[in-house]
C-alpha cells in the first residue's frame, strides 16, 4: 500500500501552491463574500491552467488523472480558501460521474473545460447524502438542499431512483429548475436549495457507494487544506503574540491544543491520501471505497473545525472581527464539515456497517 504522494504529485502541489499564493490571498475569499462575481476572474485563471481537466478520466477507462492528483489540487485550494467551484464542480459533481461511463462523457468533458456543475444529493431532512430525486417518464423530479456552488452552476448532477435502480442524472439549470438561494455560513462558497422537474441531458446507472466515494474524498481534501492553513495561522500567532513576557505559544495550554490539532490534521490527511489511493485501485470493492472515503471526510471535517476553533481561541478578540482572516477559515470549515454528511453521521454510518447492523 503506497499512500504517500509521488514526486510528480509533489511537483503539482508546489505549482498549484505558487499560483494560489499570488492569485488568491485570503482577502479574495472576503471579497467574494460581498461581490458575487469576484470568483469569475480566479476561475478563468484556474480553468486556463487546466485544473478543471482533473474532472476527466482517461478515454480508455484508466484514469489520466488519478484521485490523488485531484486531491492534491483540492487540498491546496482549501488551504487558500479559494472561492471557486473547483471542489463543487470538479471534485463533487464530476466525481459522481467518474464511474458513469460513456453516457456521462460529454458532461465530464464540459466540466473539464470549465463548465460549472453542482452536486445535488442532500435530501431534505437527512444528515447523510442520499438520493433526493426520482426518474420517471423521462423526467427528474425532486428537491435537494444545501447544494454547493449552485449559484455559479449551469449544470446539476443529482442521484435519482428509477425503475432500474439508482442513476446519476444531469439537468441544465434552466426551465424546470428552481433555485432557492439562502443565507449561508460561507458566502464565499454559496450553497442553495433546488427543486427539479426537468428532462435530464444525461442519465447513467451508478452504484451508490462508488458514486459518493469520490465526492467524499474530494471534500475531505479541501477540509484538510483548510485545517492545515488555519493551524499555520494559529501557530504563527502563538509564536509572536506576547503575554506575561513570553510568546503565548510557550504555555502548554496553547501548545498542547495546537499539538492535538496537528494530530487531527495528519490523521485526516493520512486517511484522505489512503482513501484516494484505494479509489484509484480498481480492485477496491465499492463498500470499502465508501468506508475509506467516509472516514476521510469525517476526520477532515473534525480537523478543519477543530483547528479553526483553536485558531479563534489563540487569536482572542481579533478572531471576532471581519477584517481578520480567521472567520474566513472558520466559515469554510463549518460549511464543509456539514456538507455530504457531518462527521458524527459519517462515523455512525461506518460504525454501523462494521458492526454488521446495516441493512
Amino acid at each position: 500500500m503506497d499512500v504517500g504522494l509521488n514526486s510528480g504529485q509533489l511537483a503539482l502541489r508546489d505549482s498549484v501552491r505558487d499560483v494560489l499564493r499570488t492569485e488568491c490571498p485570503p482577502a479574495v475569499a472576503r471579497q467574494a463574500m460581498i461581490d458575487p462575481q469576484r470568483w469569475r476572474t480566479l476561475w478563468k485563471t484556474v480553468v486556463d491552467l487546466g485544473w478543471a481537466e482533473l474532472a476527466v478520466p482517461g478515454a480508455d477507462g484508466d484514469d489520466t488523472f488519478g484521485r490523488l492528483d485531484l486531491i492534491v489540487v483540492l487540498e491546496e485550494c482549501g488551504a487558500a480558501i479559494a472561492p471557486i467551484p473547483l471542489l463543487s464542480s470538479v471534485g463533487m459533481a464530476a466525481g459522481v460521474l467518474r464511474l458513469a461511463g460513456a453516457a456521462a462523457a460529454d458532461v465530464l468533458g464540459a466540466i473539464g473545460s470549465g463548465a460549472v456543475a453542482a452536486l445535488a444529493v442532500h435530501p431534505p431532512g437527512c444528515r447523510l447524502p442520499g438520493v433526493p430525486t426520482t426518474l420517471q417518464h423521462g423526467r427528474v423530479q425532486g428537491r435537494a438542499v444545501a447544494v454547493p456552488g449552485l449559484a455559479r452552476a449551469e449544470l446539476i448532477v443529482t442521484l435519482a431512483s428509477s425503475a432500474d435502480g439508482p442513476v446519476a442524472a444531469v439537468v441544465r439549470v434552466d426551465d424546470g429548475v428552481t433555485v432557492h438561494e439562502a443565507e449561508c455560513t460561507d458566502p464565499a462558497q454559496p450553497v442553495a436549495d433546488v427543486e427539479i422537474d426537468a428532462e435530464p441531458v444525461a442519465v447513467a446507472p451508478v452504484d451508490l457507494d462508488s458514486a459518493f466515494a469520490t465526492p467524499l474524498v474530494a471534500a475531505a481534501a479541501d477540509l484538510v487544506g483548510v485545517a492545515g492553513a488555519v493551524l499555520d495561522r494559529a501557530v504563527e500567532h502563538a509564536k509572536t503574540r506576547q503575554q506575561f513576557d513570553k510568546p503565548i505559544g510557550a504555555f502548554q495550554g496553547i501548545k498542547h491544543a495546537l499539538a492535538d490539532n496537528y494530530v487531527a490534521l495528519e490523521r485526516a490527511r493520512g486517511l484522505t491520501y489512503a482513501a484516494a489511493a484505494r479509489l484509484d485501485d480498481s480492485a477496491t470493492p465499492p463498500p470499502a471505497a465508501w468506508n475509506a472515503a467516509a472516514l476521510a471526510k469525517a476526520a477532515a471535517g473534525e480537523a478543519a473545525v477543530g483547528c479553526a476553533r483553536t485558531a479563534v481561541q489563540v487569536h482572542g478578540a481579533l478572531a471576532q472581527t471581519w477584517e481578520h482572516d480567521i472567520h474566513l477559515y472558520l466559515r469554510h470549515a463549518w460549511q464543509g464539515a456539514a456538507t455530504l454528511g457531518d462527521s458524527r453521521a459519517l462515523y455512525h454510518a461506518v460504525g454501523r456497517r462494521f458492526a454488521g447492523a446495516a441493512t
Binding site: D2, K246, G249, V263, E266, G270, L271, R344, Y347
Partner: protein
Amino acid sequence: MTHPDLIAEYGAWLTDFLPDDYYDRYREYRWDIELRRAHQCAAFEAGWLQPTWSREHGGRSLGLADAMEIRLEAAMRSAPKLPNIAGPGVAAPGIRQFGTAEQIDRLLVPLLRGDEWWALGMSEPEAGSDFAGLRTRAVRDGDVFRVKGRKIWTTQAHQSRWCTLYARTDPEAAKHRGISCLILDLESPGVTIEPIRMASISDETFCEVILDDVEIPVASLLGSCNGGWQVAMSSLNHERQMIWIMNWVEIQRGLNSVREVKTTDDDYASGQVFTELGSLLADAEALRATGYRALHNELDGRPSPEADILKLLGSHTLQRVWELAAAAAGPRSIGDGDLLFERQDALAATIYGGTSEIQRNIIAERLLGLPKG
C-alpha cells in the same frame, strides 16, 4: 514495494510454529511465557526477529518496507508477544548501534535468543518525564565506575541479567550532556532488586533497583562517556517505530471485541456506540496510513514529521477502544477480568515511552516550532 512471497513465507513459518489450538485458546496462550520464549528463539533462528538485521543477528537483511510488512503480519496474526520487549525492542538496537565489538559479541545473541533478559535503567524517583534530571551517580575509579543511586519502574529487572543503566558521570555539564549509559550486570555485588506489586495482573512487573556502591567496568560503557543521552534517544526512537504497530494490533482486537458485543434494544445507546466505533475505525486506519506514509517519506529521503503523531494517536485510540468495549458490554463489563486487564494495560500506553504530555511538547516544539516553556 513489498514482496507477497516473503509475507507468505513468514505466514507459513508462523502457522507451522503455533500450536493448532492457538487461536481457540488465545486467552490462555497469551500468558504462556514458555511458548513466548520458544517463539522468540524460533523467530531468531528463522530470521524473523529483526528482519532488517543480518542473519547472525536474527534477521534477513530486509529493507524497512518489507520489515514493516512482516511486523504487521505478525501483529494481525496475533503472534506471541516478546516476553521481554525491552531486550529486542530497545536494548538491542542500542547495543548494535553504540556497542564495541566485544559488547556485541558477548551480549547480542543471548539477548536476541531470549536467553538473557534486559531491563532499562532510566526512571528514578525524581526523574520520570524529566529523564535528563536523573541523579544516579557514576564516579570513575581506575578501571571501574562506582555507582550509587536508585532506579524505579524498572520493568522485569528481577528476571533480567542485564540493565542499560543511565547514570550521571559529569555533574558539572548541562544535565543531558553529563549522562552515560553503562551496561550493568544485575548479578553484581551491591545491586538490590525489589519487585513492586502491580495494580492488575501483568507479566511486566516493575522493580525498584537500588545501587549501593556497585562497580561497573569502564569497558561496560555503551557509547561514549557522557554520551548517554544519544544512546537513550536513539534506542527509544527504535521503540517508537514498533509502538504504533503494537498499538494498532491491540486496537484491532478491541474493535473486534466491540463488534462481537451484540448491541442492545436501546437504539440511542447503540447509536452512540456506532458513532464512537466509526471514529475509532478512522483512528486505526489513520495510524496505519500514517505509519506507511512516514516510512515512504523516510525511504525517499524526505522528512517524515507525521511519524511523531503515531505514539500519541495510537495510545489514546487504544484507551478509547477498550473504554468503548466496556460501554458496549454494559454491566457485563464488571465481571470481565480480561477486559479489566485490557483497560489497565491501555492506560500504561500514554505513559511509557514518553507520556502524552511529552509527546505534545515534542510535536509543538519540534514540528510546529513553538517556543519552549
